[in-house]
């Protein structure tokens, strides 16, 4: 099977992004002291690594090898939003990013002519993504005493604005590759 080169690029982009997430959360899971957050972060990092594997397998089933892409999407977050400097800020930026991931995968799934294997891969990943959003939401709620509910809300708002900026920039930069997925910028 020969796939469209834009689809090849997009699936490779997803794979690169999942690898970056896995490496980042893996390092964090190693840094954290034993706690419920450490446990959830460890599962989260394992999920991201599995997602990278699912995309790698999906690309193989589509008859292509993953493209080596230089910069993961997440790297641009730090430039736009400023460096998260504590665990609450890490979880807040992750919450915003995970919502973006769910939105992007949903949009991709609903776009025309999606190969069955891509739909199946998205469906598998989405089950985990729902849990990612849930555990982080719960952890942020538990952090309200330590960091302040208003501070957490402000942090989420700041990262949400940065997310929109980065997503629109990425969508503009790769508008031909993204095709129908450009709708996500609305």
């Amino acid at each position: 099977m020969k796939i469209d080169e834009n689809l090849h690029w997009i699936l490779s982009f997803y794979r690169t992004s999942e690898i970056s997430g896995a490496l980042f959360f893996g390092e964090l899971a190693r840094s954290l002291r034993p706690s419920a957050i450490q446990q959830d972060m460890t599962r989260h990092f394992a999920d991201e690594a599995n997602h990278a594997r699912y995309w790698t397998d999906c690309l193989e089933k589509l008859g292509v090898e993953p493209l080596k892409l230089p910069v993961a999407y997440q790297n641009q977050y730090l430039a736009a939003a400023g460096m998260p400097t504590n665990l609450m800020e890490i979880l807040a930026i992750t919450q915003v990013f995970e919502k973006r991931v769910v939105s992007q995968y949903s949009l991709h799934r609903e776009s025309p002519d999606v190969p069955d294997i891509v739909t199946e891969t998205i469906d598998t990943i989405m089950e985990d993504e729902k849990w990612h959003i849930q555990w982080i939401r719960d952890a942020l709620t538990e952090m309200e005493d330590e960091y302040g509910a208003d501070n957490i809300k402000d942090t989420l708002r700041r990262f949400t604005l940065a997310d929109r900026e980065v997503y629109q920039k990425t969508a503009q930069e790769h508008k031909e590759r993204l095709g129908e997925l450009r709708l996500a910028t609305k």
Partner: protein, 81 residues
């Protein structure tokens, strides 16, 4: 080893750098290949020494010495509390 040098040693360990590279005037972004490593190091310091930083604390931190000043002041404040 005093507090400042203990923190410096931890920074060097996380960054995978020789301690002599982590000098006070070393620019933090020159010590890392990826911004994510810098985030990991800042989180690791907070976990290791049981202190908290906010983004407003970090925004003007450029070099190792400034980060050590911040960490040292938080560790001392925690010890006095």
């Amino acid at each position: 080893m005093n507090t400042r040098e203990t923190v410096r040693a931890k920074m060097a360990e996380v960054l995978g750098s020789a301690p002599e590279r982590v000098s006070d005037d070393a620019v933090l972004t020159d010590l890392v290949n990826s911004s994510f490593l810098l985030v990991e190091m800042v989180i690791e310091l907070q976990e290791e020494f049981d202190v908290r930083f906010q983004q407003s604390d970090i925004v003007d931190v450029v070099n190792v010495g400034q980060l050590l000043d911040l960490a040292e002041s938080r560790i001392e404040a925690r010890a006095k509390a």
